[in-house]
Symmetry: C2
Subunit: 330 residues, 2 copies
């Protein structure tokens, strides 16, 4: 009887906790975007709906840079790399002819953004080659703890979008499994995304650098090599999803042309789907950029979103708050 009583109390708690989540997307203004999200989630999670999807197949994938947190004036991982590459430069005289190194050294954001992820990630790969994965993890954590964003004067990990945090939580509360699928390196995300988004390391898909097993003084270590073995960007994203998740998502969230193929693959499945693009149109609270931007360019994916009726979220009008630290909402 004691156990039954305990069960009863737990059940009461569960009911009251449910009550607190009555408004799951509190930072979203009422409008087409919010309505489309709620309608989709209800349709796929209601057993009586003709669009019902079993919980195990409710896979949702999220780009990170520009979709879950900011990416201006430069991908935050690139900012991290500045210090890494500077520190390693004396050991790499051959870098002086490397365009990515020159751009980093001059802090030429435009040139860096034009070069894209690949050459810059490769340079970083060389910079920290030979480190154990543990040493590298510590380097990232130390940087995240001390670095501050130039515009917001806050740790970069503060620049996560509150409405997207709520969306992640709302999807999970409805049986979804949420994944990050990002062009950035897995190592740069794993130390903080669990706390920021509730996404555990094993649900982070990203670019991958060479790693090698070795016994060192009788202890097994993983050493970082200089080369990238996988670039999880653009057409790489569906490949990363295939390799690591192994089933087609039913919902995909992005903000730039690098997410187009991930959105296309999601859209191509049978049954009801949700494709959503975050549009950065709020220069006051965050940044405003799209077709002409060197970072997070939104051009082809925007056209396709319009043609296919994917949801385009206006950060300015759809979001009451962008960041948790904002004093007032709209």
């Amino acid at each position: 009887m004691k156990r039954l009583l305990l069960g009863f109390l737990l059940a009461c708690l569960a009911v009251s906790a449910r009550g607190q989540n009555a408004e799951p997307l509190a930072s979203w203004n009422e409008g087409a975007a919010k309505a489309a999200i709620v309608s989709f989630v209800k349709a796929v999670s209601d057993k009586k709906s003709k669009n019902y999807v079993p919980a195990a197949e409710r896979i949702a994938v999220f780009d990170n840079d520009g979709t879950l947190w900011s990416e201006q004036p430069l991908y935050f991982q690139f900012v991290f790399m500045l210090d890494q590459v500077k520190a390693a430069a004396p050991k790499h005289p051959e870098w002086k002819d490397n365009p990515a190194f020159q751009a980093l050294a001059k802090q030429d954001h435009e040139a860096l953004a034009k070069l894209g992820h690949k050459p810059v990630l490769e340079l970083m790969g060389q910079a920290n080659s030979g480190m154990t994965v543990g040493e590298y993890d510590k380097t990232i954590r130390d940087w995240l703890a001390s670095a501050r964003h130039p515009k917001f004067k806050r740790p970069y990990t503060n620049l996560v979008f509150k409405p997207m945090q709520e969306l992640l939580a709302y999807l999970r509360a409805n049986g979804f499994k949420t994944f990050i699928v990002s062009g950035g390196s897995v190592e740069f995300m794993r130390p903080w995304v669990e706390k920021a988004y509730g996404i555990p390391p094993e649900q982070v898909v990203g670019s991958q650098q060479e790693v090698k097993f070795e016994m060192r003084d009788g202890k097994p270590v993983l050493l970082r090599g200089p080369n990238f073995v996988f670039m999880d960007d653009g057409p790489g994203k569906p490949v990363g999803i295939y390799r690591q998740i192994g089933r087609r998502p039913i919902a995909a969230f992005g903000n730039s042309d690098g997410d187009l193929q991930m959105l296309q693959v999601t859209a191509a499945g049978e049954g009801r789907r949700l494709m959503l693009i975050v549009h950065h149109d709020d220069a006051e609270r965050e940044y405003a950029y799209d077709r002409q931007s060197h970072v997070g360019k939104l051009d082809k994916a925007w056209d396709e979103a319009k043609a296919k009726n994917w949801i385009v979220v206006s950060m300015k009008s759809d979001w009451k708050k962008i960041f948790s630290f904002e004093r007032t909402g709209k």
Copy 2:
């Protein structure tokens, strides 16, 4: 009040379901192996224990071939390949000089086993290069549905070890997240492991073949290329774990030297750990092999298990039943 009543009823159900799981490792004989498993699980999942590990970090990794299902007289994926390679042979005259092809054509199990996973997987990679991942998935499902094991005259997917199924369920009931980490290809496991082991596709780590995104008649497809880009065997296993899981397991289960590095990496973490090796010593109910075997050779890992007090499970004496279909238990 209606909701509270419903909660109460659900709570009652939960309590009674719990009661049914009173003996979670029913096919395990009482003995050192079972006791060690139970003691470990209690220690890491009891909040009051000094060895307590938060649920999110309770990562358990399982080799597949020889650990969760049989692997004799030849890795089942190799058997599948026979048909694949035979069908593709006319298009590949260059194969006649390939040792792996010769061994497959002659059904020379010993030669195949000696060659190991790599050259045989490469041959298969060429055999089904150009298929979409959907076509390949169907090929595997069709084969699994029709093929029969030469000794047991049953579908290969019947040859999963009942005590290991129970162990997987027991770990999950205690908050563990269970992963497969296998030398086999992810594609060959994903269609059936969810039903057999309760492990979803996104928790399967394995060898990876090239896959490329392409638009075909306006539809996105993933095409298989000829090369393997990752071999998840031996020293590759810790790399696969790092890439896809991103944290160190606290429990690892294997049966052969190909699992040694995975066991070493698991053992090298701080706090309490569980390393377990399944020893095939039951020629009557399954197979008996270890140091001299060409498939699933257990030699170095056995020595290390003895030296480091890892658990070695005797299939003959520790397991009442090996397969669900056995009429009588021991």
